[in-house]
């Protein structure tokens, strides 16, 4: 696949992004796209692992799936929001098409954007840059 883009130029500072999804192909696609764009990527394959990694890695941003065994993406974000050490971490949520998040949920969980699957990796990267550039 030829994707003409200036990925590498978009993110010069190596910011850390945690990607959490129980589908490994999503993890691979997303982390490849982000790594190529110069981000440091950490991946977790369920909500609990995501929570642990968020604590140990303190990423700048979390991209998480909504539906995951044990701990849902929404719950993961909510918990991080409640703790002072991680409450600043912004999140992008990946969901099944058609799922909508209430404004209250977004407020309580630090979720800045929702992308429905199948999503465009190009669009995801643009969204990541957008969210990182937004004022806290």
């Amino acid at each position: 696949m030829t994707l003409l883009s200036t990925d590498a130029a978009v993110a010069s500072s190596a910011r850390k992004i945690l990607v959490v999804d129980d589908e490994s192909h999503i993890l691979h696609v997303v982390s490849l796209k982000l790594r190529n764009a110069g981000f440091t990527v950490v991946t977790g394959s369920d909500g609990q692992e995501g929570l642990d990694l968020a604590h140990s890695e303190l990423p700048d941003l979390i991209i998480t799936d909504f539906q995951m065994p044990q701990l849902s993406g929404l719950e993961l974000c909510r918990r991080l929001r409640q703790e002072p050490a991680t409450s600043h971490i912004r999140a992008i949520m990946l969901t099944a098409r058609g799922y909508q998040l209430g404004p209250q949920d977004a407020e309580q969980s630090g979720i800045r954007r929702m992308l429905s699957k199948p999503f465009s990796p190009r669009h995801l990267l643009a969204t990541v840059n957008e969210v990182l550039n937004e004022a806290a």
Binding site: T2, L3, S5, H28, V29, P118, S120, P121, R122
Partner: protein
Amino acid sequence: MPSQATITDTSSGAAASVPTAVLDTLASRWRCSGLFISLLDPAGAVVYHDSHASPFFLEYVLAQFRAELGKSLALGADRIGRAPVDRSIPGVLLDIHPLIEKRRMQGILVLAAVDAAIDRTEDLQRAAGRLRLDAQWLLAAARRLPPADDNSFAHRSRLLLDMLHDQIRLAAVQREIDSVSGELSGSYEELTLIYQLTASMHITRTPADFFRQACTEYNEFTGVRSTGVALTVGSLPGAAPAMFGPMSLPAPELHRLGSLLVDAFNYDQSPIIINDLAASPSYAFLGRHARQLLAVPLFRPQKHLGALFALDKIASDFDSHDVKLLISIANASAIYLENSILYEDVRGLVMGLLHSLTSAVDAKDPYTCGHSRRVALLSRRIAREAGLDEAQCERIYMGGLLHDVGKIGVPEHVLSKPGKLTAEEFDLIRRHPAIGARILKDVKQIQDVIPGVLYHHERYDGGGYPAGLAGENIPLIGRVICLADCLDAMTSTRTYRKAMPLEAALVEIDRGRGRQFDPALADALLRIGDGRLKSLLAAHHALGGGGTLLDSAGDSAPAIGETR
């Protein structure tokens, strides 16, 4: 890409590599068991070593590789099959493994450990002396490392070698995963693009809008400078070739390209890929503007609808992915286009029939010629001004067209009676909304339009007919048509009175807001203003409508609302 310890074979220029990360992983795992890892290129130069190793290795062993020993190891390396333990360095056990890739030696892996018999080696003193190292210090450093005898060293180095091969395989698998992920990522992009396109194939969308989206997405996705569309003559009336993107062709070239492509796809539906336009016999005229062209047909079974084309990829030549994606877009677009054409066809037929029907009704009274059409136009304009969505505006247009269809059931002599009507005659007139609604009641596609026919004579204050509804109880479509109907009636000459100038009619509308008319809708109509209303109706008159005197001042002012 991870950094690589590249071994360059100077004789052929070919290079093989073991990822540095792999060597680092191994080095860190084996450091504590006293194994020192280094990699020499085929000429014997050190290209990698465990940089966190004990000073014993870094100052003593490595220094000897660099001083000639590397070269002699390299000379011997390809003669070594299963390497026996080498004792070229006093007090040190060496294991030498040539790395063979594609039947060529690409490098030499040298493992080292402290010889368990180091204390008995006098040569160590001499070697240290040559390197100007303190022998006592060297021995002390060596004693901090786990010593090895021949057997345990051979065993350890074999294990390490197995691990190295596993790690190399793992690194290759990781590269493969990355490549598959890259492909998958591309498929995701394609999938989303096609999904978005199919989701936006509303029939109410204009083809220009649809193709703008399709072409712009393709530009962004493949990095081409411009993507465009050309349709076959007659497939969609009035559709000229169009291009979307930062680059555009002058109109004559664009038209010429469009008709060339459409003609070409008539005979052969395979994609056209030209990577050097200036050198192409048929497309050289584009050479001044663009370098590359990719074009695919818009095709449905038995139907050739046109072509999609992309110009200038810049970064590289068009490849099979670009072609495949443009074909996918073209296939989706062709379905949309075919539906659009069919829809336009049926819509044209229906609207044509409706216009004929309502003209027939209007013709019963020479003074109402063109009235239905004008009411339809005015109603739609008011609806738009009031902010209704386009689909609703079109329904209201249809309602305006049909509002008086019930007059077909009212005797002509009553409709065109010049003087005042008797109570019985007025009663006949007042039946036309109900008659109209009855005529249309079985046409299931226009059920939402019927209230406009039935309630266009209701008044906002409840004093109208046939139901005497008031305020918001009157369906919106009825309230809109009522306004349009009254405005056109006032500004038209009727058998029973002369036309009023538009300006005066608008004053009457203003006076009737909240009484006869919905105030919000009346405001919308007044906002449009007489200038724009005149040009709207003038366009209609140019088509031959009659009976209105929008521009001349009438000398008698009839009472408001005296429409029949």
